[in-house]
Amino acid sequence: MSGDLFDKTTNALATSMRMRQLRHNVTSSNIANAETPGYHAKKMDFEEALGRALDMDGANGLSTSSKEHFAVGGVSVAKTRPDIYENPEGAVNNDGNTVDLEKEMSALSENAIMYKTALQLINKKMAALKYAAGDGR
Protein backbone atom coordinates (compact mmCIF):
# COMPACT_ATOMS: atom_id res chain seq x y z
CA MET A 1 0.00 0.00 0.00
CA SER A 2 1.51 3.23 -1.11
CA GLY A 3 -1.07 5.07 0.95
CA ASP A 4 1.49 6.19 3.49
CA LEU A 5 3.79 8.01 1.12
CA PHE A 6 1.30 9.27 -1.46
CA ASP A 7 -1.84 9.84 0.51
CA LYS A 8 -5.41 10.57 -0.45
CA THR A 9 -4.66 14.26 -0.89
CA THR A 10 -1.98 13.66 -3.49
CA ASN A 11 -4.27 11.32 -5.40
CA ALA A 12 -7.12 13.77 -5.20
CA LEU A 13 -4.90 16.58 -6.45
CA ALA A 14 -3.66 14.43 -9.31
CA THR A 15 -7.21 13.54 -10.30
CA SER A 16 -8.23 17.16 -10.04
CA MET A 17 -5.38 18.16 -12.36
CA ARG A 18 -6.34 15.47 -14.82
CA MET A 19 -9.92 16.73 -14.84
CA ARG A 20 -8.85 20.34 -15.20
CA GLN A 21 -6.74 19.37 -18.17
CA LEU A 22 -9.74 17.70 -19.76
CA ARG A 23 -11.89 20.75 -19.01
CA HIS A 24 -9.22 22.91 -20.57
CA ASN A 25 -9.51 20.89 -23.77
CA VAL A 26 -13.30 21.15 -23.71
CA THR A 27 -13.07 24.93 -23.29
CA SER A 28 -10.46 25.18 -26.05
CA SER A 29 -12.83 23.28 -28.29
CA ASN A 30 -15.63 25.74 -27.49
CA ILE A 31 -13.35 28.69 -28.25
CA ALA A 32 -12.14 27.19 -31.53
CA ASN A 33 -15.75 26.62 -32.58
CA ALA A 34 -17.05 29.99 -31.42
CA GLU A 35 -18.08 30.78 -34.98
CA THR A 36 -19.02 27.36 -36.28
CA PRO A 37 -22.67 27.28 -37.32
CA GLY A 38 -24.70 24.77 -35.34
CA TYR A 39 -22.00 24.09 -32.75
CA HIS A 40 -23.29 23.72 -29.20
CA ALA A 41 -21.04 24.73 -26.32
CA LYS A 42 -19.98 21.85 -24.06
CA LYS A 43 -19.74 21.99 -20.32
CA MET A 44 -17.86 19.68 -18.01
CA ASP A 45 -18.49 18.89 -14.35
CA PHE A 46 -16.27 16.86 -12.09
CA GLU A 47 -16.21 18.62 -8.73
CA GLU A 48 -19.21 16.78 -7.37
CA ALA A 49 -18.00 13.37 -8.56
CA LEU A 50 -14.57 14.03 -7.05
CA GLY A 51 -16.15 15.21 -3.81
CA ARG A 52 -18.23 12.02 -3.65
CA ALA A 53 -15.14 9.91 -4.30
CA LEU A 54 -13.15 11.73 -1.64
CA ASP A 55 -15.97 11.03 0.80
CA MET A 56 -14.83 13.58 3.36
CA ASP A 57 -17.79 13.05 5.66
CA GLY A 58 -17.61 9.26 5.32
CA ALA A 59 -21.26 9.12 4.34
CA ASN A 60 -20.82 7.20 1.11
CA GLY A 61 -18.80 4.16 2.09
CA LEU A 62 -20.01 1.37 4.37
CA SER A 63 -17.67 0.63 7.24
CA THR A 64 -15.82 -2.68 7.20
CA SER A 65 -14.68 -4.56 10.28
CA SER A 66 -11.60 -6.20 8.82
CA LYS A 67 -8.80 -5.14 6.49
CA GLU A 68 -9.54 -8.14 4.31
CA HIS A 69 -13.03 -6.93 3.53
CA PHE A 70 -13.69 -5.20 0.26
CA ALA A 71 -14.56 -1.53 0.62
CA VAL A 72 -18.24 -1.05 -0.03
CA GLY A 73 -19.97 1.95 -1.49
CA GLY A 74 -17.20 4.51 -1.82
CA VAL A 75 -15.85 5.17 -5.29
CA SER A 76 -12.12 5.38 -5.79
CA VAL A 77 -10.73 8.82 -6.53
CA ALA A 78 -8.81 7.56 -9.54
CA LYS A 79 -12.04 6.27 -11.07
CA THR A 80 -13.78 9.65 -10.96
CA ARG A 81 -15.44 10.24 -14.30
CA PRO A 82 -16.19 13.65 -15.71
CA ASP A 83 -19.63 14.56 -16.87
CA ILE A 84 -19.52 16.31 -20.25
CA TYR A 85 -22.74 17.64 -21.68
CA GLU A 86 -24.13 20.37 -23.88
CA ASN A 87 -24.45 23.58 -21.95
CA PRO A 88 -28.17 24.27 -21.60
CA GLU A 89 -27.47 27.93 -20.86
CA GLY A 90 -26.40 30.39 -23.50
CA ALA A 91 -28.52 32.04 -26.12
CA VAL A 92 -28.77 30.37 -29.50
CA ASN A 93 -27.35 32.53 -32.24
CA ASN A 94 -28.82 33.00 -35.69
CA ASP A 95 -26.55 30.22 -36.88
CA GLY A 96 -27.41 27.80 -34.05
CA ASN A 97 -24.17 28.41 -32.16
CA THR A 98 -24.38 28.66 -28.36
CA VAL A 99 -20.78 29.59 -27.48
CA ASP A 100 -20.39 32.62 -25.22
CA LEU A 101 -16.81 33.64 -25.88
CA GLU A 102 -16.48 35.88 -22.80
CA LYS A 103 -17.66 33.08 -20.52
CA GLU A 104 -15.35 30.59 -22.18
CA MET A 105 -12.33 32.87 -21.86
CA SER A 106 -12.97 33.48 -18.16
CA ALA A 107 -13.60 29.75 -17.63
CA LEU A 108 -10.28 29.11 -19.35
CA SER A 109 -8.28 31.38 -17.05
CA GLU A 110 -10.11 30.27 -13.95
CA ASN A 111 -9.43 26.65 -14.84
CA ALA A 112 -5.75 27.37 -15.52
CA ILE A 113 -5.40 29.09 -12.15
CA MET A 114 -7.05 26.18 -10.35
CA TYR A 115 -4.75 23.80 -12.21
CA LYS A 116 -1.72 25.72 -11.03
CA THR A 117 -3.12 25.80 -7.50
CA ALA A 118 -3.39 22.01 -7.41
CA LEU A 119 0.08 21.81 -8.90
CA GLN A 120 1.54 24.03 -6.18
CA LEU A 121 -0.11 21.96 -3.50
CA ILE A 122 1.41 18.81 -4.99
CA ASN A 123 4.78 20.52 -5.12
CA LYS A 124 4.48 21.47 -1.43
CA LYS A 125 3.74 17.87 -0.54
CA MET A 126 6.69 16.68 -2.61
CA ALA A 127 8.93 19.26 -0.95
CA ALA A 128 7.86 17.97 2.47
CA LEU A 129 8.62 14.39 1.41
CA LYS A 130 11.98 15.44 0.03
CA TYR A 131 12.78 17.22 3.26
CA ALA A 132 11.91 14.12 5.27
CA ALA A 133 13.87 11.86 2.90
CA GLY A 134 16.89 14.12 3.29
CA ASP A 135 16.89 13.72 7.07
CA GLY A 136 15.54 17.22 7.42
CA ARG A 137 18.51 18.81 5.78
Binding site: H24, N25, S28, I31, A32, N33, P37, I84, Y115, K116
Partner: protein
Amino acid sequence: MADFLTGMRISSSGMAAQRMRMNTIASNIANINTTQTPEGGPYRRKDVVFEAMPDAKNFGEIITGSDPHGNMQRVQVSDVISDRKAPLLKYEPDHPDANPDGYVAYPNINLMEEMTNMIQSSRSYEANVSALQASKDMAMSALEIGR
Protein backbone atom coordinates in the same frame (compact mmCIF):
# COMPACT_ATOMS: atom_id res chain seq x y z
CA MET B 1 -6.89 10.17 -21.56
CA ALA B 2 -6.85 13.45 -23.27
CA ASP B 3 -3.67 15.43 -23.00
CA PHE B 4 -2.55 18.97 -23.64
CA LEU B 5 -1.64 18.11 -27.20
CA THR B 6 -5.36 17.71 -27.85
CA GLY B 7 -6.07 21.22 -26.62
CA MET B 8 -3.16 22.62 -28.57
CA ARG B 9 -4.29 20.83 -31.73
CA ILE B 10 -7.80 22.19 -31.29
CA SER B 11 -6.62 25.75 -30.68
CA SER B 12 -4.31 25.63 -33.67
CA SER B 13 -7.16 24.36 -35.85
CA GLY B 14 -9.10 27.44 -34.74
CA MET B 15 -6.16 29.67 -35.62
CA ALA B 16 -5.77 28.03 -39.03
CA ALA B 17 -9.48 28.44 -39.76
CA GLN B 18 -9.45 32.10 -38.77
CA ARG B 19 -6.33 32.69 -40.85
CA MET B 20 -8.07 31.17 -43.85
CA ARG B 21 -11.04 33.43 -43.21
CA MET B 22 -8.74 36.43 -42.89
CA ASN B 23 -7.13 35.58 -46.26
CA THR B 24 -10.57 35.39 -47.82
CA ILE B 25 -11.53 38.77 -46.38
CA ALA B 26 -8.23 40.25 -47.60
CA SER B 27 -8.98 38.90 -51.06
CA ASN B 28 -12.46 40.46 -50.96
CA ILE B 29 -11.09 43.85 -49.94
CA ALA B 30 -8.28 43.71 -52.50
CA ASN B 31 -10.70 42.89 -55.30
CA ILE B 32 -13.39 45.37 -54.39
CA ASN B 33 -13.08 47.04 -57.80
CA THR B 34 -12.06 44.04 -59.90
CA THR B 35 -14.17 43.76 -63.03
CA GLN B 36 -12.35 40.92 -64.77
CA THR B 37 -11.75 37.39 -63.51
CA PRO B 38 -10.52 34.21 -65.23
CA GLU B 39 -14.08 32.84 -64.88
CA GLY B 40 -15.40 35.96 -66.60
CA GLY B 41 -17.41 38.78 -65.13
CA PRO B 42 -16.59 40.76 -62.00
CA TYR B 43 -14.96 39.28 -58.90
CA ARG B 44 -17.44 37.57 -56.59
CA ARG B 45 -17.21 37.96 -52.84
CA LYS B 46 -15.89 34.79 -51.13
CA ASP B 47 -16.91 33.44 -47.76
CA VAL B 48 -15.65 30.50 -45.71
CA VAL B 49 -17.81 27.78 -44.16
CA PHE B 50 -16.69 26.48 -40.77
CA GLU B 51 -17.33 22.92 -39.69
CA ALA B 52 -16.77 21.21 -36.33
CA MET B 53 -14.85 17.92 -36.57
CA PRO B 54 -14.44 15.45 -33.70
CA ASP B 55 -10.80 15.29 -32.68
CA ALA B 56 -9.10 12.03 -33.68
CA LYS B 57 -9.40 9.25 -31.12
CA ASN B 58 -6.33 7.55 -29.82
CA PHE B 59 -5.79 3.84 -29.33
CA GLY B 60 -6.39 3.90 -25.56
CA GLU B 61 -9.80 5.41 -25.96
CA ILE B 62 -10.79 2.95 -28.62
CA ILE B 63 -9.96 -0.07 -26.46
CA THR B 64 -11.43 1.33 -23.25
CA GLY B 65 -14.47 2.70 -25.01
CA SER B 66 -14.12 6.02 -23.22
CA ASP B 67 -14.67 8.82 -25.63
CA PRO B 68 -14.04 12.27 -24.20
CA HIS B 69 -12.87 13.23 -27.67
CA GLY B 70 -16.40 13.01 -28.99
CA ASN B 71 -16.89 16.19 -27.01
CA MET B 72 -13.77 17.88 -28.25
CA GLN B 73 -14.05 19.25 -31.69
CA ARG B 74 -11.58 20.85 -34.00
CA VAL B 75 -12.77 23.43 -36.46
CA GLN B 76 -12.01 23.35 -40.13
CA VAL B 77 -12.91 25.26 -43.23
CA SER B 78 -15.14 22.85 -45.09
CA ASP B 79 -15.82 25.06 -48.08
CA VAL B 80 -15.16 28.46 -49.62
CA ILE B 81 -18.32 29.74 -51.23
CA SER B 82 -18.92 32.54 -53.71
CA ASP B 83 -21.49 35.12 -52.78
CA ARG B 84 -24.50 34.97 -55.11
CA LYS B 85 -25.44 38.62 -54.75
CA ALA B 86 -25.98 40.31 -58.12
CA PRO B 87 -23.10 42.57 -59.21
CA LEU B 88 -23.41 46.31 -58.79
CA LEU B 89 -24.01 48.07 -62.10
CA LYS B 90 -22.46 51.50 -62.55
CA TYR B 91 -22.92 53.70 -65.52
CA GLU B 92 -19.45 54.21 -66.98
CA PRO B 93 -19.71 54.17 -70.77
CA ASP B 94 -15.98 54.87 -71.22
CA HIS B 95 -14.91 51.79 -69.24
CA PRO B 96 -13.49 48.96 -71.41
CA ASP B 97 -15.74 46.45 -69.56
CA ALA B 98 -18.93 48.42 -70.07
CA ASN B 99 -21.84 46.49 -71.59
CA PRO B 100 -23.60 47.84 -74.72
CA ASP B 101 -25.85 49.99 -72.47
CA GLY B 102 -22.78 51.59 -70.87
CA TYR B 103 -23.02 49.81 -67.51
CA VAL B 104 -20.03 48.17 -65.78
CA ALA B 105 -20.57 45.23 -63.43
CA TYR B 106 -18.66 45.75 -60.15
CA PRO B 107 -18.33 43.22 -57.30
CA ASN B 108 -21.10 43.61 -54.74
CA ILE B 109 -18.78 44.01 -51.76
CA ASN B 110 -19.59 46.13 -48.73
CA LEU B 111 -16.36 47.39 -47.22
CA MET B 112 -17.94 47.93 -43.78
CA GLU B 113 -19.09 44.32 -43.71
CA GLU B 114 -15.62 43.11 -44.63
CA MET B 115 -14.02 45.28 -41.95
CA THR B 116 -16.33 44.04 -39.19
CA ASN B 117 -15.71 40.44 -40.28
CA MET B 118 -12.01 41.15 -40.21
CA ILE B 119 -12.13 42.48 -36.65
CA GLN B 120 -14.24 39.52 -35.53
CA SER B 121 -11.84 37.12 -37.18
CA SER B 122 -8.78 38.69 -35.58
CA ARG B 123 -10.45 38.61 -32.14
CA SER B 124 -11.29 34.94 -32.57
CA TYR B 125 -7.72 34.28 -33.61
CA GLU B 126 -6.51 36.03 -30.46
CA ALA B 127 -8.88 33.95 -28.32
CA ASN B 128 -7.39 30.79 -29.79
CA VAL B 129 -3.89 32.11 -29.19
CA SER B 130 -4.78 32.70 -25.52
CA ALA B 131 -6.13 29.16 -25.22
CA LEU B 132 -2.98 27.78 -26.80
CA GLN B 133 -0.81 29.87 -24.50
CA ALA B 134 -2.74 28.56 -21.49
CA SER B 135 -2.25 24.96 -22.70
CA LYS B 136 1.45 25.61 -23.00
CA ASP B 137 1.72 27.24 -19.58
CA MET B 138 -0.15 24.39 -17.91
CA ALA B 139 1.91 21.75 -19.68
CA MET B 140 5.17 23.48 -18.81
CA SER B 141 4.22 23.94 -15.17
CA ALA B 142 3.25 20.27 -14.94
CA LEU B 143 6.88 19.49 -15.75
CA GLU B 144 7.85 21.33 -12.57
CA ILE B 145 6.21 18.78 -10.27
CA GLY B 146 8.70 17.52 -7.74
CA ARG B 147 11.47 19.88 -8.76
